[in-house]
Symmetry: C2
Subunit: 516 residues, 2 copies
Amino acid sequence: MTYPPRLSDEQYAALVSDIKDWQITHGSLLKLVHTDEENTVQCQPVGTTFFPTLFPRALFDEAHALQTAFNKLYAAVAEDDEWLLDVLRDLIEVDDLASALWEIYSEVKEEGFVQDLTLGIFRSDYMMHVDSKESLRRPELKQVELNTVSCAGGVHTNIVSDMHRHLHRTGAYHSAQPPNSENLITRSSDLPPNSTLKTISAGLAAAHKAYGPAKSQGVTETCILFIVAADNFNIADERPIEYALWDESIPSYRVPWGHEVLIHTSLSPTRELLYRPASRSNAMEVSVVYFRTGFEIYEYDDIGRMGRLQLENSRAIKSPSILSHLTGFKKVQQALTAPGALERWLTPAEASMLSRTFAPMYPLDDTSSGQHAKKLALDPETASNYVLKPSLEGGGHNVYGAEIAAFLQHTPEELWKSYVLMEKINPPLLQNFMMSSRGLYEGPVISELGIFGVCLWKRVQNGESAQAEIVSELNPSWSLRTKDASVDEMSVVKGYGCFDSPALVDWDVFMSAVKA
Amino acid sequence: MTYPPRLSDEQYAALVSDIKDWQITHGSLLKLVHTDEENTVQCQPVGTTFFPTLFPRALFDEAHALQTAFNKLYAAVAEDDEWLLDVLRDLIEVDDLASALWEIYSEVKEEGFVQDLTLGIFRSDYMMHVDSKESLRRPELKQVELNTVSCAGGVHTNIVSDMHRHLHRTGAYHSAQPPNSENLITRSSDLPPNSTLKTISAGLAAAHKAYGPAKSQGVTETCILFIVAADNFNIADERPIEYALWDESIPSYRVPWGHEVLIHTSLSPTRELLYRPASRSNAMEVSVVYFRTGFEIYEYDDIGRMGRLQLENSRAIKSPSILSHLTGFKKVQQALTAPGALERWLTPAEASMLSRTFAPMYPLDDTSSGQHAKKLALDPETASNYVLKPSLEGGGHNVYGAEIAAFLQHTPEELWKSYVLMEKINPPLLQNFMMSSRGLYEGPVISELGIFGVCLWKRVQNGESAQAEIVSELNPSWSLRTKDASVDEMSVVKGYGCFDSPALVDWDVFMSAVKA
């Protein structure tokens, strides 16, 4: 079975033109920030695949089914500051971002919490994994990471998914050439609709509603505040969420990280967060603070810290709270893979379900597990099967395989504990065409499925410790990013990865495509 | 009364940023065709006003109310080949485009008509006019022209109108500075929703339905064909119409003018128009041919003529037919202004209603009216009050006021009859801010209101002559374009004009804004 279908040169050219035009007319674009002049700005299409990439229906469903337990787990961990401090203590010593966040948390705790609700907008990322010794076996899901702050790509995926379904209905995926294997999409696969934009905006709306009416004296209106990066070139992944909220009559505004936060927001005596848009003389009260930035250390200068502290200190519902932000650190992910760790918060059945998706991960510290990991990492032969990841939230800055030993040798050993060592995931290779500002690509590709989990939880104090109680939860939604199999980095904004959508197929179809 | 509201520098900067982001995320863009590479293409926002421009509610309503009679008139004229030939005979002698179109029509008539339905997608353009001697009087509507082919701007206006209403709901138009006249939009005006995209696609859908099932042997599917310019940078004004049709399960495809028409379409023995997309081995039957190009003489080389002839000869419903295309020529517009002309097709009440919107127009021929016009045109003093327009469909290529005499002196006199002389419209000046690739602008502006009239009519043969019977008609929709008052040209794609939407106000508010 061949997939994607073989197209004639003419069809291929028509497809490229159709894709560009869809992207231009649907905001599937990146701003070229360097062209941002007073009166105009240029933009260009974000990377996209031509065809939906094949994906086993069973694994797609499984990834969705896992999310409720992951929501429960990450909400629970975000309220368990004792466990978190245990896990992060080493990191806080050496890592400026972790220590900045922990300091802010400590100050807020000292002050006393005034908001017991937190909104989680998580994205749990998976790759398919096949044991290299048993390449004929069906792949299984392995979690790459779980993101808890500023989870991006939801809107872009939504648009590309709509585009693939549009191209399909126009017949652009029909090959005029035999064999007719190219009608696979019609015959035996399924292009699932995407509702990630709706899911994210519905989550924010639910938190806004849960916040209730304005509490501060003399204030009548509430609003949601997006904290965004200044000069962001990826506004097309954020703005549509604001517009969707306005369509629900929920006022939503953007404030750039830093100075602007301090200029435009303030705390009332009872710690309501007040926001003053330039256009209004009256303040509005902020119901929800939604962070689309604030995860890079350079953002935590004095002004940045003061801003984040003010937001965190307020009665507004945060997405995420500081602790929920910290649960996205790789160090936490690694600690959760330790035997028995999950059972602190989950039932044995839930724990077993989730842990099946965990790739082996090790700290690089002085524990026996850490000692073992250092040996694996320093020997180029064993290291080839591993990735060294800085214990940050999100992707990037990873060191792969044979380069790990040299990297560690140039890194002071006391900093090693800010890294985790993760066994490489060995994904099956599929075929696709891709287009980004870097060029056209045809060949083997690797996909990463993201599951957006959106839930609102309540901190329930229990003596010294606290627990999370899920108040409401939305059906999970998905994203799919796909990259050239020979490239390690998935970054879409850098033009390596492309937004994609899955063509869901049964195992037999999938396995025959992998072998072809 | 001051309008638009006075904004602080900070509000102004925020507004610019909000506008750019809305445009990027809603396809309010032009392709930069010179950047169209294999793998990417750049685009930038189309020109737009910052604020809706003030417009008298009474005139906005009047323009809509006129459209049914204009639809009736232009449908009737498009079936009256005897009258049209009378009016166009002089032009056909000297103008290559008019003669090319007339030749195609004649060949089709010779062959015999196989389709008696035509879809009109018209745009009747108006400016407000105030007699310069009576500047305190309320302005009235004057028709600039009525376009019958490839009426553009419908989608762009729709998006900018949505944007203005979004900006309004966010409070971006509230001035933080007194006086609070800036709340005019909230207090006493109205931003009417725009449904032009829906109106155009609904018109095409109605024609598609009226065509009925495929008639050609062995063909099961019907589709709408857009005939478009190759390398069009304004795809954002066309593509959304296709997508809207697909959303109604009506297959819609684009074929570039010229060779591609001959490659991808053919006539069945019974003159059904068959279309073969690159992706299908089976042909589809074309229900409606929608021209978004084909109005420039350079398009009528041998291949272009053959293509248009084949389309016109077919059973597909054309939007527009050749004769309907020809009714958009200025020569026709001028002939319709002649006393008593309208009564050939309209009731006296309808005729009187429409003719009130006609500015005085003259031919430059040997009739007594033409002699009079030549005198007016050649005397720089009287010419200053006139515009010389080539008798083409659409805008552009106009010669203004004092330049007319010199222009005519350099034009062979036998070509003069391809021009019409139109009294200048004297519009009231309003204030706005605008942004386009040409720069930012603040100052006096002039707007042009376009009314989209969409109707399907049937040719009813009556001996030698034919009449038009309106089969169905949609509620008219609108567009608004606004330009720097000091510039003659309105072209939006060249960056002179900007898309806009009206803030509808009562006469007293409007008149006080004009005087301010």
